[in-house]
């Protein structure tokens, strides 16, 4: 029971933080519109900022009066989520320096490590890494040579 209450409180705080962030976005948008030279550029983003501000404030009021029951972060391993996202970002940042193929391999390796929940065996090691290599090279060939995308 205590655990449930604790989880619910955590969820409410999450919604409040997100709504507060959107208030910040609305204020920043409104501030930015003060610097435009033309009225035509201001009208739409300013209207959207006002709408965002109103509904974000209402969301906060609503969360205080009638807390919603959102899922929270749920189950699952945090390190896997982080490895997946961080390796994708590292691959993108490194791409101009190490070229596309090695960067693609970094992204693939990160995803593979993050999503592999079974025990590694010699067979899965060879099969998964091998198929990764084939997939990366195949996509590289299609995009570079067929679609003429200038991959770094």
């Amino acid at each position: 029971m205590n655990e449930q209450l604790h989880t619910k409180n955590k969820k409410d705080i999450g919604s409040l933080i997100v709504a507060s962030f959107f208030i910040f976005v609305a204020v920043m948008t409104f501030y930015d519109t003060t610097q435009y030279s033309d009225l035509d550029s201001k009208v739409f983003p300013r209207a959207c900022a006002i709408v965002l501000l109103i509904f974000s404030v209402l969301t906060i009021v609503w969360e205080f009066t009638k807390p919603s029951s959102s899922e929270g972060f749920g189950n699952g391993y945090w390190w896997r989520r982080i490895v997946l996202v961080v390796t994708m970002l590292i691959a993108c940042v490194a791409m101009p320096y190490i070229t596309f193929l090695p960067a693609g391999m970094i992204a693939f390796a990160g995803g593979l490590i993050a999503a592999m929940h079974d025990r590694w065996s010699r067979r899965t090691l060879l099969l998964y890494w091998g198929s990764g290599l084939v997939i990366i090279i195949a996509f590289y060939a299609i995009f570079h040579y067929v679609l003429h995308v200038p991959l770094p």
Binding site: K11, S15, Y36, L52, R81, L112, S131, L147
Partner: protein, 504 residues
């Protein structure tokens, strides 16, 4: 329009082109990041040495195949392969998750073929009169049409309208980042050179829909999709029955797709959203849109494929491209020396009618090829180990997003938006309203500002926004779309109450 044109379309060469176009388009469209426009643009050069009618058949087939191909990733990975398939994710992915992915893929194929045929028949029989619709739509009608699309937020908010509206407004703000189209002011970049070009919509879509799925998949050991039984066929008969049962939805969505396709700049994503909204508005009480309702897939897929034929109407009759791929096709036609415009149907009637018959044949060919490719796509997704699926899809999101503007910044923004979308989704802020705002924002803003300028100049601002018949019809549909679920709910409660009272 005579039999010789039909026979011209039936030559083995044209049939082969139609088949190749559908297959190539379907495969390209199924890869997140590769849009129908890109599919057509990439394959345009091979049409330069062909007869104009054959070139048109190939390009039309690629286009229609790519629009359908977008459904695979939408259903099986929750990532719209093309922006036209956004609304396919709403019910397609929930169906796949509960073990009905094979059924969903087959339904998408039937609906796409039916929608494509309605659009092509509209092009065949009603092109000159329907092209007038494009001219009847001014900026204010576009503005109201986008607002009608935004009214879908009410149904995409997963039980929390306020959070949905917050997401929608945030999406609209994101759509304004970069250089303003009308006055060229630099907006919301905060000094960053990277943001001057604004958010790339397809990249943002991939991020908001696909990255959260990957994050969730990597975190837990559960299977990607539930599979009820051994993988055999695509439950084709069952899908045909479900599609036929929703024939009214099918026809209505196809007509919506054809009409929206005619409107320059609107395209398959708007058509899909409008048709979905209408299907949801007229749903039976037991239907659960957003939770795996086949009618949602039927509405979206029928309408987005109908935009193919619809989009060719202004392209061929007025020389105004209805959708972005039409603009590429129009360019290809100009290179070939074909002059589009009102006289094309008279002077170049043979080319046009051969092409239209070719498009119909390509759409029919999409049924067997689509089901076959769909079967393999489904089999691949459910049999591939999750440890390989996650990095493969992750890698595809990177290369697909990069390919759109050859920009690494777009890829980084895509990943960051995805993480942001995942974080806020955990607290009830769904990604779909943000996507709606992002897609409809530019149409809404341009329509609003142009109407504002015209209204102010003519000293008739209210009349501009509320005095035009088409606008009023769209406004009425928007109000109906927002209030109809409440009216139905109230009516149901009123019906229920006497028996409930008796029971008590």
């Amino acid at each position: 329009m005579d039999a010789s044109n039909f026979l011209n379309a039936l030559t083995p060469f044209n049939m082969m082109l139609a088949l190749f176009g559908v297959v190539a388009g379907t495969v390209i469209g199924s890869i997140p990041g590769l849009t129908a426009t890109m599919a057509v643009a990439v394959l345009v050069p091979i049409t330069f040495s062909m007869e104009p009618a054959s070139a048109l058949i190939l390009l039309g087939a690629i286009y229609t195949g790519a629009i359908y191909g977008g459904a695979y990733a939408a259903i099986l990975l929750n990532t719209p392969g093309t922006p036209s398939a956004i609304a396919t994710t709403f019910d397609g992915y929930p169906m796949a998750k509960r073990g009905d992915g094979d059924l969903a893929v087959a339904i998408a194929c039937f609906a796409s073929v039916a929608g494509g045929l309605v659009g092509a028949l509209g092009l065949l029989f009603l092109a000159p009169p329907l092209s007038k619709v494009a001219l009847a739509f001014g900026p204010v009608e576009y503005f109201w049409l986008s607002i009608f699309g935004l009214s879908l937020i009410a149904s995409l908010s997963q039980g929390n309208l306020l959070k949905g509206l917050v997401g929608g407004a945030f999406g609209l703000i994101l759509s304004t980042v970069g250089i303003a189209e009308i006055s060229a002011d630099v907006r919301l970049t905060f000094g960053s050179q990277t943001m001057i070009a604004g958010f790339e919509v397809v990249g943002a879509l991939i991020g908001l829909y696909c990255i959260p799925v990957l994050i969730n998949l990597a975190a837990v050991p559960d299977r990607h999709l539930k599979v009820e039984s051994e993988v055999g066929s695509l439950r084709i008969l069952e899908a045909a029955k479900v599609t036929l049962k929703s024939k009214f939805n099918l026809i209505r969505s196809s007509v919506i797709g054809t009409v929206v396709g005619i409107l320059p700049g609107a395209g398959g994503s708007v058509a899909g959203l409008v048709a979905y909204s209408e299907a949801k508005r007229t749903a039976r009480p037991e239907q659960r849109f957003g939770e795996g309702e086949p009618d949602g897939i039927i509405a979206t897929e029928a309408s987005n494929n109908a935009t193919v034929g619809g989009g060719f109407i202004p392209t061929l009759v007025l020389g105004i491209p209805g959708t972005p791929p039409d603009a590429v096709i129009l360019g290809a036609l100009l290179i070939q020396g074909v002059r589009t415009g009102p006289t094309l149907f008279e002077g170049g009637g043979s080319i046009v009618y051969t092409f239209i018959y070719g498009l119909i044949i390509a759409t029919v060919l999409m049924l067997p090829t689509g089901l076959l490719i769909g079967r393999y796509a489904y089999k691949t997704i459910i049999t591939i180990p999750k440890a390989v699926l996650v990095p493969t899809v992750g890698f595809m999101t990177i290369i697909g997003t990069f390919a759109i503007r050859n920009s690494i910044s777009d890829v980084i923004i895509m990943i960051c938006l995805g993480v942001f979308g995942w974080l806020i989704s955990r607290f009830g802020f769904a990604a779909s309203p943000i996507v709606l705002g992002l897609i409809l924002g530019p149409i809404a803003e341009q329509g609003f500002v142009q109407s504002w300028i015209i209204g102010s100049a003519t000293d008739n601002l209210w009349g501009m926004f509320f005095g035009r018949p088409i606008s009023l019809v769209i406004v009425a549909f928007t109000i109906l779309s927002l209030t109809y679920p409440l009216i139905v709910k109230r009516r149901m409660q009123n019906k229920k109450s006497p028996t409930d009272l008796k029971a008590e």
